[in-house]
């Protein structure tokens, strides 16, 4: 692990973040947008863990933030999928272009 500089790990997390952004821009299906959000959250987790391991090895704060982010991601996915299933039941589509019910 000592041979790899921190910037290489940050390269992976940055690339993963922007891959998630690309999916967020191009996808039109709510479930695939949710998957892109999961990728983005995971890249943030990699960042926290890498900073904690490389720059502050005497602390554990990055580890705690990672655990809390994972928890929040789990609850976010549960609520999002509940909303998606409810939308599908009333509109028979989970496409973001067709679900404009809340627009004025």
């Amino acid at each position: 692990m000592n041979g790899i500089p921190l910037t290489h790990i940050l390269f992976v997390s940055t690339a993963l973040f922007f891959i998630g952004m690309y999916g967020f821009f191009t996808r039109r299906n709510m479930i695939t947008i949710l998957m892109s959000v999961e990728l983005i959250l995971n890249s943030v987790n990699i960042n926290f863990v890498a900073f904690n391991t490389y720059l502050y090895p005497q602390n554990l704060d990055g580890i705690f933030f990672t655990i809390f982010i994972v928890t929040i991601a789990a609850s976010e996915a549960a609520v999002a999928i509940a909303i998606i299933i409810n939308l599908y039941r009333s509109l028979h589509s989970v496409d973001v272009d067709e679900t404009g019910e809340l627009k004025f």
Binding site: M1, G3, T7, G23, E38, A50, P57, S75, E76
Partner: protein, 172 residues
Amino acid sequence: MNTSDILFYCISAFILGTGVLAVTTGKIFRSAISLLFSLMGIAALYFWMALEFIAAVQIVIYVGGIVVLIIFSIFLTQKSGEEMPKPPLSKIWFSFFSVLVGFIFTYYLIHQYGFGNGGEQPFELKIADIGNQMLSLTGKGYILPFEVISILLLAALIGAIVVAMKIKNKSE
């Protein structure tokens, strides 16, 4: 370059490759499976950093929980064998270039800053330390976020049930 470095680059290539597949594949079920492999690759990255506990959390919650939930919702709402409609080409190019510019800019900043090597002593993670600090009431403890997040989990649980619940018509 020793074996550990090569392993890191292999894991990184695996994560990014399956991540790209997850956002570009036409079939939604394949996209979910690619996401699963990408999350497994991130767990492997945590194993490579010798953070076994975080890797276990990643596998249990993401791979075992969230991806399974996503696959269930795909089966409930989608025709999983069919190709999804492709976005228009102009949108693909616009997204690609904006993402590319953002990535280059961000990585340029990271590269310029450099970050150096902060800590000399090796990092070691003891699970007992995590538990002690999580529940300690002293200044470095995380007891308040722990309690707040337990309330949040309860709220999300009840909220998800209420939102997804089917309300029966009284008239029938």
